[in-house]
Symmetry: C2
Subunit: 415 residues, 2 copies
């Protein structure tokens, strides 16, 4: 993508009412634009990041055998009354239409997915079954001051599974948990699975997947030795205590952001809607359901929040909006530099490499480098009069200090 044709503008100034690193960096680098607290436009660079994260999540959800669909955001009041959510969930946005019909804006989709799936399930032979979507959710938050970490409008992957028994649920739940760890690893993140309370969804114990970051909104206690981890909300343990798993390690308290969760919903939703299946013995049963969330837009915030240096963001390659930032420094030899850069750009595109091409003619080298560091694309390739004298480009990784000259013939091999 040529920068001169792209809707991309970085900013030197920082919004003063933006307390988090991710909110400031993502705005400054031209990934998002805040419409109001907790509600963002995803600019072209940001939309690419969101799509890259979604793609990884989608692949791993498909791998556990879930079918992707897309549920509505506008919900009739009645389904939320059926489950009690209309009166009990304080973050539920409510709409009174001009036809006097009341609606809710989806903040989760149990109310939609339960009748949708169970009306298509007759017998135990139709189970287990899992569906998921990557869709926008809304929450009437009192405060939303954490950049992309707490949205009033945010993108989530939510999966729902349906099982004939607790045992079968446990089996799938374990698979889903492994898929979650795979996702976070592919995103370059280390997530800890914590025990937590079930929140408004369920009173059963659930798991939260936490990434340590000071901008997070949860406090967790984690063992430095084993994988024990717990939300401080549900424990009386303190920082410095011995790990309850008797591994010999000590617990440390840290601030973290919840990037995913899994809930054992039990039979609540099937019972609420009076929808079940016929079991092997011919009796009506309610399925055991699970709900599995991943905050896609929040993950974008967590990555920006945790992977940066004083100059800007350091996107992991799987997530970066482009793989390569090609920078032409025209100097006094604009014709040759642009001609060589245009050629390399075309070749890289041809080979399927995703390239952002800084083809601006009147911008200084210093400004181009500053923008490039801020944006944080993993590979930087510079073409200038100087590099062309050696029939080369200068190559530098965003997360390394040293650069190297690479001959024009060999650039494609290293990218």
């Amino acid at each position: 993508m040529r920068q001169t044709k792209y809707f991309l503008k970085t900013s030197k100034t920082v919004s003063e009412d933006e307390p988090t690193v991710n909110g400031r960096l993502l705005e400054q680098a031209g990934f998002v634009s805040k419409l109001m607290a907790g509600v963002y436009t995803y600019l072209p660079l940001g939309l690419r990041v969101l799509n890259n994260i979604s793609k990884i999540v989608r692949e791993e959800m498909n791998a556990v055998g879930a079918s992707e669909l897309l549920m509505p955001m506008l919900h009739p009041k009645e389904i939320w009354q059926t489950t009690g959510g209309w009166d009990n969930i304080d973050v539920l946005f409510k709409i009174n239409s001009r036809t006097e019909k009341e609606y809710a804006l989806g903040q989760s989709e149990e109310e939609v997915v339960t009748p949708l799936v169970l009306s298509r399930v007759q017998s135990y032979k139709d189970l287990p079954l899992a569906v998921y979507q990557i869709g926008w959710k809304f929450r009437d938050e009192l405060r939303a001051k954490s950049g992309l970490l707490r949205g009033r409008e945010f993108l989530m992957k939510d999966m729902y599974s349906f099982h004939v028994s607790q045992e079968d649920f446990d089996r799938f739940y374990a698979e889903a948990k492994q898929a979650y760890f795979k996702i976070f690893t592919r995103l370059g993140l280390t997530a800890k699975a914590t025990e937590a309370s079930g929140g408004s969804f369920s009173q059963k114990i659930s798991y939260e997947f936490m990434v340590l970051t000071d901008a997070g909104e949860d406090d967790i206690l984690y063992c430095e030795t084993c994988d024990y981890c717990v939300n401080v909300e549900i424990t009386e343990l303190k920082s410095g205590a011995s790990c309850p798993k008797s591994c010999g390690g000590l617990l440390t308290q840290g601030r973290a952001s919840e990037v995913g969760n899994v809930f054992d919903l039990g039979q609540k939703y099937g019972k609420d809607f009076g929808l079940g299946f016929t079991d092997v013995g011919g009796n009506k049963q309610y399925p055991v359901m699970g709900c599995y969330g991943i905050g896609i837009s929040r993950l974008m915030g967590v990555i920006a929040e945790t992977m940066n240096d004083p100059k800007g963001i350091l996107w992991p390659e799987n997530v970066a909006p482009f793989k390569v930032h090609l920078i032409a420094l025209p100097g006094k030899d604009a014709e040759n530099v642009f001609s060589a850069s245009d050629k390399l750009y075309a070749e890289l595109i041809e080979s399927g490499v995703e390239v952002l091409y800084d083809d601006r003619a009147d911008t200084s080298a210093g400004e181009k480098f500053a923008d490039s560091d801020l944006i944080g694309i993993p590979h930087r390739v510079i073409i200038s009069q100087k590099t062309l004298a050696d029939a080369s480009v200068e190559h530098k990784k965003r997360n390394e200090d040293k650069s190297s000259l690479v001959s024009l013939d060999q650039v494609r091999q290293i990218l």
Copy 2:
């Protein structure tokens, strides 16, 4: 995709309160599920169609040089007050949050895109500029009884362009119009461009792109000889009159659905927000803006509405959820039939062909054929004991009556 692992269930019955063909067919064939009037879940098959349409639209919008971004759906009241829409647009959904802050749900995005873009534009050198999104919109419709043709929640592509002059706008407008015709052609549709009034957006003349269908909600007069076409709302011409372009043709009246539109917004939005650019002479100017919509979910409805036969849908290949429906008829030789089918399925997937594989063991041939016709995938490939006796498959196109035997070795060449 193996049907036994896929969330797909067709239905023999038709919802009685669904008056349109597209609503009935898409529900029956398992593409969508109605949550309430005008609000649908896109089931796995339907989501694939929506994505295929989006992909074509995206490619053509990128080709005219527009940058894709994604704007929020939840809007602060203030931006709608600035343009007068808060009080004047009757289909605007309004939300009163628990913090007493009022929001609107986006039904179009001029109020978001104008400040977003113009705050990043300083001079005439930054223009022209076009951005677009493929995003969900909401309208508080009094009636929504046309299946996917009129949604309370619907997917739209909306592009916005910004120009230094009317002349430059006209140039881009002509390009966008050509891109639109290209899109409809790729979707297998014949669209007519009609003159219409500007609606709530603008008082200038706009263009609507219409596809003839009885389920549509507009009446148009079109010339059978030339490309003249007009919405009856803004003309005094009648059916049977001579074409005003003096081509010698006569006008015919028909029912149509509006699948796209382009509006000349003039300088209204720049003025409303007090945001402009510095022109060549150093003076502040307001840009001329254009708005270009395409109804993505409506297009899905229009295609189903216009391309069907008594047995089901006939998807054009560019839009179909899968290219091939592979059907195994196990009969009395289940082991061999499934073994050959599994092998062909794997080979097709390997070659990048998108295949839905009816691998159900206990379903009759008749039921499989009925489902396949209903779903409407362009190519059907049948493997049975009979075809295997000839080391062949039976191949039939959905839109043709005759089938032919093709040797197993050659199947991949014809798909």
